[in-house]
């Protein structure tokens, strides 16, 4: 006992950086690098044929990764317990940005989800992930062990504001990820079982009503319902799903080889370098490549859950569990839609899909988990 105590004391005195988890950083970096290769594979031909720089998207993605790493490191520097105080500020800033994007944003494929800042686009919805996690974790930590119905409603109201704004864009995919995160944090924060059941039922009913009552735009319903019958409606909304399934299925065990996928080279899968990046992995690197990617994500999830378990305080644990839920939801939804078991909702694959906001936020989330983990003794 004494040994442990002295050990603990000595660790408190050390710099928290000595307690970082290398296994947490490896997979995101590998995935990021693999993502660059896949972005190149899916874009260089079309760029070449237009006499543009074949590295155009890759270069921009590299910039995003560098910024993401900086954000990760930056987030690690600030003690996460101080972030708890700052989180409310970030929350309001995010809500403001979400309001602004509806007024001033750029309409891309029917969704008003991003700002153009110079040559880069910013998606406030992505940043909402981080701040909502922090705010919700902070609120739940304060009222831990006494999550009454009223508190639960308050917590849900906090979430409802940014999620509602995101729904207005509309960006269903991000909302789904946020829902997973919210549900997980509430569960871990001790919400009562019957409240959680009611929550699930309400969520389900809401989804049904939304579809029936036309809250969702037709394209969203099409996407959501088309995955069930891709064969019948391949020309329209099921086209993405069908083409991505073909690409992945054609890859086989070991894939067609890098840059040798006909679905990829032929641009048959729309949005391939962004939401459907996994189809490039599936076609060119096969089951082996896909399994490696999923394995790397599994390691991230494993290390994140470990960080939650070892966290020094409930706030840190809730943050980690929130991030974990988001990663799981995002990977499941993204790979699920690429392989045809989930509806097409337009959601990026963390660390790999082309898109600055997603890359930066994904690395920032790793920074948050690392932050909690390395300060488990202090």
């Amino acid at each position: 006992m004494a040994i442990i105590a002295s050990d603990r004391r000595s660790r408190i005195q050390e710099s928290p950086l000595r307690h970082v988890d290398p296994l947490l950083f490896g997979p995101p970096l590998i995935l990021g690098a693999l993502g660059l290769l896949m972005v190149y594979a899916s874009t260089h031909r079309i760029l070449e044929s237009e006499h543009l720089d074949p590295m155009f998207f890759v270069k921009r993605q590299i910039i995003a990764i560098v910024i993401g790493l900086a954000a990760m490191v930056g987030l690690m520097m600030i003690d996460y317990r101080r972030l708890r105080e700052l989180s409310l500020l970030g929350y309001f800033a995010t809500v403001l940005m979400l309001v602004a994007v509806l007024k001033l944003g750029v309409d891309v494929k029917g969704a008003q989800a991003r700002f153009d800042i110079g040559p880069f686009q910013v998606q406030p919805g992505e940043f909402a992930k981080v701040f909502l996690t922090l705010v919700l974790a902070a609120y739940c930590t304060r009222h831990r062990e006494e999550m009454s119905g009223r508190r639960l409603v308050t917590a849900l109201a906090i979430c409802a504001v940014p999620m509602g704004l995101i729904m207005l864009q509309p960006d269903l995919g991000t909302d789904l990820v946020l829902m997973a995160m919210v549900f997980t944090i509430l569960t871990m924060a001790g919400a009562r079982a019957r409240h959680l059941v009611v929550l699930v039922l309400v969520g389900f009913t809401f989804a049904v009503v939304a579809v029936q009552a036309g809250v969702l735009d037709q394209y969203q319903i099409d996407r959501l319902t088309s995955f069930a019958n891709t064969g019948a409606d391949a020309e329209r909304s099921g086209y993405n799903a069908k083409q991505s399934e073909i690409a992945i299925g054609a890859g086989g065990l070991t894939g067609k080889g890098l840059f040798a996928g006909s679905q990829t080279n032929g641009q048959h899968v729309p949005e391939q370098h962004t939401d459907f990046i996994f189809t490039v992995v599936g076609e060119e690197l096969g089951f082996v490549g896909g399994a490696v990617v999923l394995g790397l994500f599994a390691i991230i999830v494993w290390r994140t859950s470990r960080a939650a378990r070892l966290a020094q305080d409930p706030f840190g644990a809730l943050c980690c569990m929130g991030v974990l839920a988001m990663f799981v939801a995002q990977v499941f939804e993204n790979v699920g839609m690429a392989t045809g078991i989930m509806p097409v909702t337009g959601i990026p694959l963390p660390f790999m899909s082309y898109g600055g906001s997603s890359i930066i936020v994904s690395f920032a989330c790793i920074g948050l988990v690392a932050n909690v983990h390395m300060r488990r003794f202090s």
């Binding site: 399934e245 073909i246 992945i248 065990l253 006909s262 599936g282 896909g290």
Partner: protein, 647 residues
């Protein structure tokens, strides 16, 4: 599920389950069912570009080109240019080509065009038009000048019914193809004549380039290429010189007939209609078709760029005598006296007559059991033996044979069906196998046939029984007997060569593309295959000399039916048989089957003219003109020999 630890475990299990589901799905797609998706990916991205093969030429027996491919100047437009460019290009082209932009646009958007190859938008351009476009290339983005092979029938309508024509492949023809690359919608395919029967030789094999394309149809890379193989050249047995004379003589004969009175009509001003006819020259040594003509004919070049709708309708209107019908092989006519060859052989084989059997022809024959209903002959010929009966075309002589055979048939004597048996042995009632489509089989009526049509329609055919009159009329080629000209020519060929039956042969060899027909070495080197004469069997022809004497008498005996038509023709050079068939509701069909030279005939020269009156009157002079050419004699003008000398 109250402690955070348990809740964390539940969430971990859910996460694990979700990852497990993704692994399972990935395994299912990529390992369990991958082949299905591989195929789908290939369908998605692999496109075939078809490069048509130049079609083979058709040569005459001496190697002269009858059907060739002319190089035509055309303009093609690349369909991948932008809509705005396209509008501009079509507007400018319409000015240069004197065609409306609408017409050009319609051709460009024709769905039969492959989206991966430039579309032919204008054919048969002048050199100046082509030059203008070439010099102003920047004004015409996506437009290319090209030369493409276009089918050319060198001698216009000559040998139209032998050569045939091409047309666009239809749905049924496309479906019938085994090789999916062989034809594309919009391709030309032989529709008639040799163009149809030797399609597989002439066609060649189109080249196929497989390319990988992207979702917008742009070519990403070339996968592989199978080069096109040009179609083979087919050499016919037809001799262009004989063909031309045959056609000219037939046309002249028809013209001449239309100017004379119908001898069978009581109306003095009723002229012969002579709307159509056919002529065939066969080489008796191997069954080769030396010429084959059918009137009216048509110029196949009109089909080359797609036939005009109005012309197509005109061709299908019976009032224009259906020029596309090849009467030489598909026309069915009562053979009349030309059929006496068959009756004579049947009578000899059954022992009803021998060459010396003599009767008195008083133009009247009655079957013994029915003396009150005699059959009339065309004039009394007095005492006739078999050769003379042929020469003067004594109906009575052959009625007797038909009558006697019927009596035997009634008695159950197996020789009683000699007439029908001999007819079938000589090829009547069956296709000759000539390499032309639409060959008719004709009809050799007999007891079984009569019973069958009665059973089918008792109201129209009340008598199921084979009656004496049926056999008697058959013996002079009337009644229900129907033959095609090519069958009749083949039957006389069998007589002429002493009993060997050949299938009329239209082509003798197939060569690789571009053979130099005048160069024996090249011919040998490029020969793909010989088309050997097709022997169908032999027929026992008793008393051939007596028969030939009779057929020579037709043109040489002072009483011969065609002696007048052959007046002045060198003796010993011709033999033949006239025929004048009565047709319900029409003027008589005029037949003449010529053989030359008479002693050992080398050629059969058959002529048949619909509504041409007597055989000696219209068909014989046409046959004579052709025989003159075959024998190197000066070819005289074809006239109509009237008044008729007989039937």
């Amino acid at each position: 599920m109250s402690t955070p630890r348990i809740r964390a475990s539940v969430i971990s299990v859910i996460a694990l389950a979700l990852f497990g589901a993704l692994f399972a799905r990935l395994w299912y797609l990529q390992v369990a069912t991958t082949s299905e998706f591989e195929a789908a990916a290939a369908r998605n991205s692999v496109q075939e570009i078809i490069d048509p093969a130049p079609r083979g030429r058709i040569l005459d027996v001496k190697g002269r080109v009858l059907v060739d491919n002319r190089m035509a100047n055309v303009l093609t437009v690349d369909r991948t240019i932008t809509d705005r460019q396209q509008r501009e290009v079509l507007r400018k082209l319409s000015v240069r080509l004197d065609r409306s932009p609408k017409q050009l646009k319609a051709r460009l958007d024709d769905p039969r065009n492959s989206p991966y190859t430039p579309v032919r938008i204008a054919d048969n351009l002048t050199y100046e038009q082509l030059q203008y476009v070439a010099e102003h290339r920047t004004e015409f983005p996506g437009v290319r000048a090209a030369t493409v092979p276009v089918r050319q029938y060198v001698n216009g309508s000559t040998a139209f019914h032998v050569l045939g024509y091409l047309g666009e492949i239809n749905e049924a023809e496309l479906k019938a193809q085994v090789d999916p690359h062989a034809y594309q919608l919009g391709d030309k395919i032989g529709k008639s004549g040799v163009e149809l029967t030797y399609e597989s030789d002439l066609r060649g094999r189109p080249g196929v380039t497989r390319v990988e394309v992207d979702a917008t149809g742009r070519v990403v890379r070339r996968l592989d290429k199978r080069p096109a193989r040009a179609g083979h050249d087919v050499r016919l047995t037809v001799d262009l010189d004989v063909q031309q004379v045959t056609e000219a003589a037939l046309k002249q004969g028809l013209d001449a007939a239309r100017k004379v009175k119908d001898p069978a009509s009581k109306d003095k001003f009723r002229l012969l209609n002579a709307p159509a006819g056919a002529a065939i020259v066969l080489d008796t040594t191997d069954g080769s078709v030396v010429s084959l003509a059918s009137e009216p004919d048509f110029n196949a070049n009109e089909f080359v760029n797609g036939i005009r709708q109005s012309t197509w309708e005109w061709l299908g209107d019976p009032r224009n005598n259906l020029p596309l019908v090849d009467r030489a092989v598909s026309g069915m006519y009562a053979p009349a006296s030309t059929f006496k060859l068959v009756t004579a052989i049947a009578g000899l084989r059954a022992g009803v007559v021998d060459p010396t059997t003599t009767i008195v022809d008083n133009a009247r024959y009655a079957y013994p059991t029915d003396p009150d209903h005699p059959f009339k002959g065309e004039g009394a010929n007095g005492k006739v033996d078999l050769p003379r009966a042929l020469a003067v075309s004594s109906d009575v002589y052959f009625y007797r044979i038909g009558g006697e055979l019927f009596a035997r048939q009634k008695r159950g004597d197996p020789t009683g069906t000699a007439l029908q048996d001999t007819a079938r042995e000589l090829g009547f009632g069956a296709a000759t196998g000539i390499a032309l489509p639409t060959e008719s089989v004709g009809r050799v009526p007999d007891a079984a046939w009569k019973q069958a049509i009665h059973d089918k329609n008792p109201a129209a055919f009340p008598y199921p029984e084979w009656l004496p009159g049926d056999n008697i009329l058959s013996s002079i080629g009337q009644g229900d007997m129907l033959v095609t000209p090519v069958q009749m020519a083949s039957a006389y060929m069998t007589l002429a060569d002493g009993g060997t039956r050949y299938s009329p042969r239209l082509a003798d060899a197939v060569f690789r593309a571009g053979v130099d027909a005048g160069n024996a070495k090249d011919l040998a080197a490029k020969k793909v295959r010989d088309l050997a004469p097709i022997k169908l069997g032999t027929v026992d022809i008793p008393q051939r000399d007596a028969l030939m004497a009779g057929f020579t008498g037709v043109v040489e005996n002072p009483k011969g039916t065609a002696t007048a038509a052959f007046a002045g023709f060198p003796p010993g050079l011709a033999a033949g048989k006239t025929g004048t068939a009565q047709v319900q509701g029409k003027q008589n069909t005029s037949w003449f089957v010529g053989m030359t030279p008479a002693a050992q005939p080398r050629y059969i020269v058959l002529v048949v003219v619909e509504e041409g009156g007597y055989g000696a009157q219209t068909a014989a002079p046409i046959s004579r003109a052709i025989m003159e050419q075959l024998n190197g004699l000066p070819v005289g003008a074809v006239t109509n020999v009237s008044p008729p000398a007989g039937n």
